[in-house]
């Protein structure tokens, strides 16, 4: 069993804001992340799949194909976008890094070939803050 990781990146705006709460309560809980005019990050995305290398190719999966699937399913939807407004799969969700990594996992599992086993998605919001999700 080998783990294979592809790294991609995207830049996006967002805010942490619960529409069910008052502005004061949002500022109390989310601090400056609740700024109504947004702020933004350079996100770094690590997608790890696992499997046995194929006898003929030596690959678990063609990394070029993996990159294209990540770009099409995730990066094109998120890069240079507003996560709260522009992204269909984040509609109605709080745009925390935790929720984003779960949503990315769900998107990837629907776009990757059935034979490919997703192991982990790691998402850096800043060089100092990251989350990991293993599908459960």
């Amino acid at each position: 069993m080998v783990f294979l990781t592809r790294v991609e990146h995207f830049n996006a705006a967002h805010k942490l804001y619960n529409p069910g709460w008052s502005r004061e309560k949002n500022e109390e809980v989310f601090g400056k992340c609740a700024n109504e005019n947004w702020h933004g990050h350079n996100y770094e995305l690590y997608v790890t799949i696992k499997g046995e290398p194929d006898a003929d190719t030596g690959f678990i999966f063609d990394t070029k194909k993996l990159s294209e699937i990540i770009k099409e399913a995730i990066i094109e939807k998120l890069d240079h976008k507003n996560l709260n407004i522009d992204v269909d799969f984040m509609q109605g969700k709080m745009c925390s890094t935790e929720n984003l990594v779960i949503a990315i996992w769900e998107q990837l599992t629907t776009h990757l070939p059935k034979a490919i086993e997703l192991h982990a998605v790691k998402l850096y919001e800043t060089p100092r803050i990251y989350v990991e999700y293993f599908g459960k």
Partner: protein, 137 residues
């Protein structure tokens, strides 16, 4: 003359968009591409402040880096961190917030706060791969 350069790194996270109000949306998209998204996008900006001068005879410091850090926090980070550069700061009301213009603005802010005897240079990373420096040698 025993000049030494001292550096302080800081960072801020902000939203922005590149947009020229004299152009229509199509022309803005043609020139700035996805950076002109009307709903903004954002970056983790990394800032490097370089101060050059002679170490002081009594302290051995060119400049106390804690004081430099406080200056940057008070005058730059408080204005830019977790803000929308286009909407929330006074500097980019009529100026496109490209990395080039941001670095010139930050230099202008800090130059007034740091003694004239010191040379000042600012480097600003918009991403790991894109960065700018001002002034040039």
């Amino acid at each position: 003359m025993n000049k030494v350069s001292v550096f302080r790194r800081e960072h801020f996270n902000a939203a922005h968009r590149l947009y020229n109000p004299k152009w229509d949306d199509a022309k803005n998209f043609e020139v700035f591409g996805k950076c002109s998204n009307p709903h903004y996008h954002g970056h983790n900006y990394e800032l490097e402040i370089k101060v050059t001068g002679e170490p002081d005879a009594e302290t051995g410091y060119v400049m106390d880096l804690k004081k430099l850090s406080d200056l940057v926090k008070e005058n730059v980070l408080n204005e830019f961190d977790h803000k929308n550069l286009n909407l929330d700061t006074k500097y980019f009301t009529n100026l496109n917030p490209t990395a080039e213009n941001i670095v010139i603005v930050i230099y202008g802010i800090l130059r007034k706060k740091i003694e004239e005897k010191f040379d000042l240079k600012i480097r600003l990373y918009e991403t790991d791969r894109n960065f700018v420096e001002y002034p040039i040698d």
